[in-house]
């Protein structure tokens, strides 16, 4: 499965010169906790609600401070058409919770660890269903008929 097929949400982006107050309002209004910071066609950072608290509020940044002053950068990227299992290694190597998904260098979305966990949980459920069935219900062994 391609990485892009594991995305569950649309990506929402803002320009680096927008303020942290605008970023917070966009998060509130769109119901997301993470925005891509996009300059032209390229993602230059990711800002989360946690970033706004830790790098904005906690450090006393004014509401009109630029959002690129609170974002996480550089961004770890993965190609949209890469097999999604490659993403596991990227997450492990870089110890991040989100990857920017790009195609031809252009940002197309954000892959989060949560997205992969949901897929894994579904796969795990599929695998455990027949085993659970065997545990709950008795085996029905075939009757052996002896030939004479």
């Amino acid at each position: 499965m391609k990485t892009i097929d594991s995305l569950r949400r649309s990506g929402i982006g803002i320009e680096p010169q927008r303020s942290i107050a605008e970023a917070a309002r966009v998060m509130e209004h769109t119901g997301v906790g993470c925005l891509a910071v996009v300059d032209g066609e390229h993602v230059v950072g990711i800002v989360t609600d946690r970033d706004l608290v830790r790098r904005g509020l906690a450090r006393g940044l004014p509401p009109d401070a630029r959002v690129d002053g609170a974002m996480s950068a550089p961004v770890v990227t993965i190609d949209a058409d890469t097999d999604v299992h490659s993403a596991y290694g990227v997450f492990r190597t870089h110890a991040v919770r989100r990857l920017a998904v790009v195609r031809d260098g252009r940002f197309v979305g954000i892959l989060s660890i949560d997205d992969l966990l949901v897929d894994l949980a579904a796969d795990f459920s599929d695998l455990t269903r027949p085993v659970a069935g065997e545990v709950i219900f008795a085996h029905h062994d075939a009757t052996v008929v002896a030939e004479r």
Binding site: L7, R8, R9, S10, G11, I12, G13, I14, E15, E22, R25, V26, H29, T30, G31, L35, A36, V38, E41, F107, V108, G109
Partner: protein
């Protein structure tokens, strides 16, 4: 996904009890209606870049992009 300026995009909810969200396509930055889009959120106050995912659906109300 293909959209025109003026189309609405509906984003389905991800959680029980969460309302679906809507935005209006203000600019199309891809070719032939392809993303990304600049969208205005329903309150008319916020404008963002939008990169549609599987939770988004276009409701065609706009004019074709020339």
């Amino acid at each position: 996904m293909r959209a025109n300026v003026g189309d609405r995009i509906v984003i389905r909810s991800h959680h029980i009890g969460e309302l679906q969200r809507e935005c209006l396509v203000a600019e199309v930055h891809g070719t032939d209606g392809a993303p990304p889009y600049v969208v205005q959120w329903k309150d008319g106050e916020h404008e963002t870049l939008f990169f549609p995912g599987p939770d988004a659906e276009v409701v065609r109300t706009g004019q074709p992009v020339h």
